[in-house]
């Protein structure tokens, strides 16, 4: 495999923006998707797995992409519910895609991640866009995982920007704080792609119009899917944030950053996740004091070249 190809495992809870991420990854010539693992979150894990398989079929990547089913509930606490107001009842904006012929592998997501990373030491980039549950279980199976992965990009959390599910917490970390904290404290080489940057990087109706006009013939079905599922997503962001024909590219930006770290400015911060049960549960506690003492160093994205990220995203379909 040419060494400029980035080999990724994507951990998803597909999800409208997860679907966009998978489509981008499978269409990009710079990326080889070594596998996709699924987790509960936006929807339940079976639906996430089914959606993922259907999206792969829609993308028709020309190579095998194994899918491993992962956690159906949080690492330690009990399940609180799903985000169907955001992503629709079936998780992909209620768009009906044909059933996939492919099925999930027998391994669990955590087992799959551990095996793949061990078979390819220093090679695999992990991109996690759902709850951190599968990564937490993978770390439990192999504590040495942090030294064997190439890098980890995580969609989750926020430091300066407001939260989305609560005033201070973002959905992925809020949905499983103990898993998020275990991942943060593990020593994995993490870049946190949180709301500080994802809320500034948008996919818009204008972008879709461009894709409709200039998209490659072979991508017409993909573009039609984007148009239909995003209609639902745009509607949610109109209700929640007064956006018009626009939605943040949370998960796609995370993959883009994993491949091209130059898209963002990062800052090293000591970070831990509040694992309480009250208003700040799931919050990223970044110790920004002159003499920080709480948490472990990770890279946190604090600024993004949004226009370049948006164009990069569109480019693989045109």
């Amino acid at each position: 495999m040419p060494n400029n190809i980035v080999r990724v495992i994507i951990d998803v809870d597909t999800g409208i923006d997860d679907a966009l991420t998978i489509l981008y990854a499978l269409k990009s010539k710079e990326i080889r998707v070594e596998g996709i693992t699924t987790v509960f979150g936006n929807i339940d894990v079976d639906q996430a797995t089914d959606n993922t398989l259907r999206i792969i079929q829609l993308a028709d990547p020309g190579y095998d992409v194994p899918v491993a089913r992962g956690a159906d509930r949080p690492y330690k606490r009990s399940l609180t519910g799903f985000a169907d107001s955001v992503h629709g009842e079936n998780g992909i904006g209620n768009v009906k895609l044909p059933p996939a012929s492919q099925t999930a592998v027998a391994e669990s997501a955590a087992e799959f991640i551990v095996r793949m990373v061990n078979e390819n030491p220093g090679e695999i980039v992990l991109v996690a866009t759902g709850r951190m549950t599968n990564l937490a279980f993978a770390l439990k199976l192999d504590e040495q995982l942090p030294f064997k992965v190439k890098s980890v990009a995580i969609m989750g959390g926020t430091v300066h920007a407001p939260g989305n599910v609560t005033p201070v917490a973002e959905a992925n970390f809020w949905g499983d704080p103990e898993a998020a904290d275990a991942v943060m404290q593990s020593g994995l080489p993490i870049t946190m792609v949180g709301l500080d940057v994802t809320m500034r990087t948008h996919i818009t109706q204008q972008h879709l119009d461009l894709l409709n006009r200039f998209g490659k013939e072979e991508n017409k079905a993909i573009i039609a899917f984007m148009q239909q599922s995003l209609a639902h997503y745009f509607g949610f962001y109109t209700d929640s944030n007064n956006y018009i024909g626009s939605a943040p590219m949370h998960d796609p930006l995370t993959l883009l950053v994993a491949v091209d770290p130059g898209l963002v400015k990062t800052q090293t911060m000591k970070v831990s996740i509040d694992c309480g049960d009250s208003i700040s549960a799931g919050m990223v506690v970044a110790d920004l004091r002159t003499k920080p003492s709480m948490g472990r160093d990770i890279q946190v994205c604090v600024d993004v070249d949004a226009q370049r990220a948006e164009r990069q995203f569109l480019s693989v379909f045109m």
Partner: protein, 314 residues
Amino acid sequence: MRQIIIDCDPGHDDAIAILLALAHPDELKILGMTTVGGNQVLDKITDNALKLLSYVDAPIPLAKGAAGPLLGKLVTGEEAHGETGMDGPILPSSRYKPLDVHAVEFMLNLIRNAEGKVTLVPLAPLTNIALLLTAYPEVKDKIDCISLMGGGIGEGNVTATAEFNIYVDPEAAQIVYQSGIPIVMSGLDVTNRAQIHAVEIEELKRRGKASVLVGELLDFYSIYSKVLGYDGSALHDPCAVAWLLKPEIFRSEAYHVEVETKGDLTRGMTVADRRKKPTQEANVRVLLDVDRDAFIRMITEALDVLDRRLAATN
């Protein structure tokens, strides 16, 4: 004219806030002062408050309040304020004594007997204020506003997310924040920008009695600030008084704010809902920035007034 009650734990920056209020008798009528365990234990900071008032000939009635928080043990701010709670200048013993009444009863009486509404200015853990509002909720109707120093929606000092005054007594803070009384919060967001520079502190020490006192207080207070990388010192508590005098020099936003009383890392954090569509009505005006130069001018001019007043009488 605004009628105020100052609840404090002097404390270097408390002292400056009190002097700032004393210099503006036409705008602020100080009905009384109360003390609460915080920067140091109750007896020490009460003594500091009385010494300060005596030093500047201001016989403001003062009552001692709660020795510690509603729950748990008192955490003091000795690291920043020293063994006495107001280390630095040596002040003579006070000519004044505390009243023989508890701070809560004292505030109750002041508010009941006041003509018109009263503004509370808490510069310390909110224990006394929470006790007052819980024991005598009827006083809420006669309190127009609480201008307090505490919290921070983007930064902490004791922990990554909690500021000292709120951290010491989060339960009391939550009672006060949810009381329904309009709150103006001078938290670390603004107070860390209300910096007096080292050269300005030097200048104070060349002036009159009140200025020199503040210069010496800030010499000590700056030691801790230097550890944190500041050239000078943040004037935390004076912000809560300055807003009453010149709100136009502050930038602020109204948010719904809750105090985190549990949280495994975030106890004592003031959690503001800054989302585009918050789920609850705003209850706090959060000060976010200040015109530093205008603020420092206000402080130095106030000290100048006191310098002249003291020179005339002594």
